[in-house]
């Protein structure tokens, strides 16, 4: 029992130490390049939580991050590496806005319909690599990377040629499909905070419940850990692979809906990737691929991203530094082996 507990503790401490190490190394880098780290970090803090407006913006940023993180984590738990969250996110965004601007329906139908459309679009986009993996053993990493570009250019084409007449940006989604709320904006001093955070939290619960409590989740986890044993136990490995990609894609599509129906309310032609999907990989990694872990690491990433915007103005520190710190955190999580080793040493000394 004692051993188990300390293992769990180590699992919990590893990401925290990774974050601290990231911040420490970030401090060293700032000192070395002549910036004031205290000013930088307080600017970071103020830019994330210093005013209610920024807190609202952090939550707004956290919303798609949670869902993108869940998408990566879910696939990963079933042993798949979904690099295509970015693409599924883009098609989800497009689908949500498409439904949002094209229909006139009562809100009780329109909003759920737009959200579901995004989930379905993301799911379909992820179904392709899932199917190719299950049937033809084509590696999902390659297919999903390629599909990211396809998603980017296809959605750009549709925005230009179908949704608008050669414009860069669609109109706003109808009020009946928006996640935005005057009230939420009001209490956060005009931040873009919207109801999507509720969707994200519900999805955290769904992921946890699905994986940990259901029969289907038992199969998915078994396939993730050991496909051979899953096959031996009579589970349909291929069906579970496809299913996991579909669910992962649905989460990613929902992340897109958060932007389309909440943050922006429209969709624009994009010159490149938004990065939300790729940040999702780091978020899932830091969160240990668990629903609760993703929730907390998304908050951290959201706060870092939004807070960083304030750093140049308040402290004169370039906000790229936060990118460096994020990269360092990811680095330290990825090399968590080193941290575990250190914790082991530490633990041993305590025993003595």
């Amino acid at each position: 029992m004692k051993v188990r507990m300390s293992k769990r503790l180590i699992g919990l401490l590893t990401p925290i130490i990774a974050v601290l190490l990231g911040i420490i190394v970030g401090t060293i880098i700032m000192l070395a390049s002549g910036y004031d780290p205290v000013a930088a970090y307080s600017a970071l803090w103020n830019g994330a939580f210093g005013e209610i407006y920024y807190t609202g913006e952090v939550i707004r940023q956290v919303t798609p991050y949670i869902l993108a993180g869940l998408a990566v984590a879910f696939a990963f738990r079933v042993g798949l590496f979904n690099i295509g969250v970015e693409g599924q996110f883009l098609v989800g965004w497009l689908a949500a806005v498409w439904v949002g601007i094209s229909f006139d329906l009562p809100k009780i139908i329109h909003l759920p319909l737009a959200i579901i459309a995004a989930a379905v679009a993301g799911a379909l986009w992820a179904f392709i690599p899932g199917l190719l993996k299950a049937r033809l053993r084509v590696h999902e990493v390659i297919v999903t990377i390629m599909l990211n570009y396809t998603a980017l250019h296809v959605s750009n084409y549709i925005i230009k040629n179908v949704l608008t007449d050669h414009k860069d940006k669609t109109g706003l989604v109808k009020d009946s499909a928006t996640l935005r709320s005057e009230w939420l904006q009001g209490i956060t001093d005009y931040s873009r905070l919207h109801w999507g955070i509720i969707v994200a939290i519900i999805c955290c619960f769904i992921m946890w419940f699905l994986l940990e409590r259901t029969t289907r989740g038992f199969e998915l986890r078994a396939v993730g850990f050991n496909q051979h044993a899953a096959q031996y136990a009579g589970m349909n490995v291929n069906r579970n692979i496809i299913l996991s990609m579909v669910i992962s894609g649905a989460f990613a599509g929902l992340a897109g809906a958060m932007e389309g129906l909440g943050t922006f309310g429209y969709v624009t032609v994009k010159g490149g990737f938004t990065g939300v999907g790729f940040d999702g990989i780091a978020i899932a990694l830091l969160g240990g691929n668990s629903a609760l872990g993703v929730f907390f690491s998304a908050i951290l990433f959201g706060a870092l991203k939004v807070g960083a915007l304030n750093m140049p103005l308040e402290a004169g520190v370039p906000n790229e530094l936060v990118d460096i710190i994020i990269a360092l955190i990811v680095f330290f999580v990825a090399s968590s082996y080193i941290i575990r080793k250190l914790l082991d040493r530490f633990g041993k000394k305590e025993v003595k």
């Binding site: 503790l9 919990l12 401490l13 925290i16 803090w45 103020n46 830019g47 939580f49 210093g50 005013e51 209610i52 407006y53 807190t55 913006e57 940023q61 250019h153 750009n156 230009k160 050669h166 860069d168 940006k169 001093d189 005009y190 931040s191 873009r192 932007e259 943050t263 922006f264 309310g265 429209y266 624009t268 032609v269 994009k270 010159g271 490149g272 938004t274 990065g275 939300v276 991203k305 939004v306 915007l309 304030n310 140049p312 103005l313 308040e314 004169g316 370039p318 906000n319 990118d323 305590e350």
Partner: protein, 361 residues
């Protein structure tokens, strides 16, 4: 167990910090808001938000920042919260936060650089009715927003003339960033200029689909040069940097070859002294400086669209490279066309549709 307790304590401290931080700051804020009304004497401040290209994109954002710096210098202001400053955006989602941050910091005028910021500027202008905004390259119909547009077609018409006269192969290339109204103006003007100077020349038009992909720009440029083009014009932001790299590389390998590249937005001669023929200069700096000055003097053109063309010194063709054999002729031709355009005799096409019905003679 010890460690666990420390962890618990840590998280409690963090949580408390969050709450206290939020409370403390909102009090500050209230105080600030009160001060805002009475504080009319405070020095004029101005700031801008870049798009994802960043302030050192050697193009559009950089030009805007240069304008702001010049304005600051003229008015002996300092960089920072009490003078002039900028914020850089790293994704589309950041535009809104950045614009809001600057408005909250009580900058008297906040520029949004680039049409990508249109949605964000419009929304925030509605919320922050007391703040003044300006948007470059797009139009926002709000009383507290000044819209700045350029007649890009006039500048690109002039560089089109230069391209048409400098080419030996009669093959000319155009690399666009992403298709948009602004880039279409560049394209239409350029093609019109080429045709006006050299009816035999053909223009190969390609879009990179991005403003920040230098390697893609280089690939496209490489293909164009390889298929015989000897002058290429780009209106593609940082993507266009690849064009210059390719041109410089080719020139280094074969110094006798006729290889020209034409820059955009600012005079990009520094991108390759031997290969940059000229640039379609869009004086974002002039426009920014001009708008800031107006605002400082109390004439903020809120709710208005200001068009900057040749006549307003808002656009121009950069000096022709001295190494072109027929530089004198080109200079003369450009001068003639500048006069014609300024006088209104010639209306340069700004869309593909207008280009079809355009005839220079």
């Amino acid at each position: 167990m010890k460690k666990r307790k420390i962890g618990m304590a840590l998280s409690l401290v963090l949580a408390a910090g969050t709450l206290l931080g939020a409370c403390g700051k909102s009090d500050d804020n209230a105080g600030k808001d009160d001060a805002k009304g009475g504080d009319k004497d405070k020095a004029f401040t101005v700031a801008m938000v870049t798009d994802v290209g960043g302030v050192d994109d050697k193009s559009f954002n950089q030009s805007a920042w240069e304008g702001l710096q010049a304005f600051g210098k003229d008015n002996s202001m300092e960089k920072g919260k009490n003078g002039y400053d900028y914020l850089q955006s790293k994704s589309d989602a950041d535009y809104s936060t950045n614009l809001n941050t600057l408005a909250r910091q009580d900058f008297d005028l906040v520029f949004g650089i680039g049409f990508m910021m249109q949605g964000a500027v419009e929304e925030i202008a509605k919320q922050q009715k007391d703040s003044h905004f300006a948007i470059v390259d797009s139009q926002v119909d709000q009383p507290n927003v000044a819209s700045i547009l350029f007649k890009e077609q006039e500048a690109s018409f002039l560089v089109g003339i230069a391209a048409g006269m400098a080419t030996q192969s009669d093959k000319i290339g155009f690399i666009g960033g992403m298709e948009s109204e602004v880039i279409e103006r560049f394209e239409a003007g350029f093609v019109a200029g080429v045709k006006a100077a050299n009816p035999d020349a053909t223009v190969d038009i390609q879009y990179a689909g991005a403003f920040d992909k230098a390697e893609l720009g280089q690939t496209i440029a490489s293909k164009m040069y390889s298929s015989g083009a000897d002058v290429i014009f780009h209106a593609a932001g940082a993507t266009g940097n690849g064009l210059f790299k390719e041109a410089v590389d080719r020139k280094a390998k074969n110094p006798d070859a006729t290889i020209w590249a034409i820059g955009v937005d600012r005079d990009q001669a520094d991108m390759g002294a031997d290969v940059v023929l000229t640039s379609a200069v869009k004086r974002v700096d002039v426009a920014v400086q001009d708008t800031a000055t107006k605002a400082k003097e109390g004439n903020f053109p809120g709710g208005k669209v200001t068009l900057y063309g040749l006549a307003e010194d808002g656009v121009a063709a950069a000096p022709i490279n001295a190494k072109v054999s027929n530089k004198a002729e080109i200079d003369a031709a450009i001068k003639t066309w500048v006069d014609k355009i300024k006088s209104g005799d010639v209306k340069v096409p700004g869309t593909r549709a207008e280009l079809k019905s355009f005839s220079a003679q």
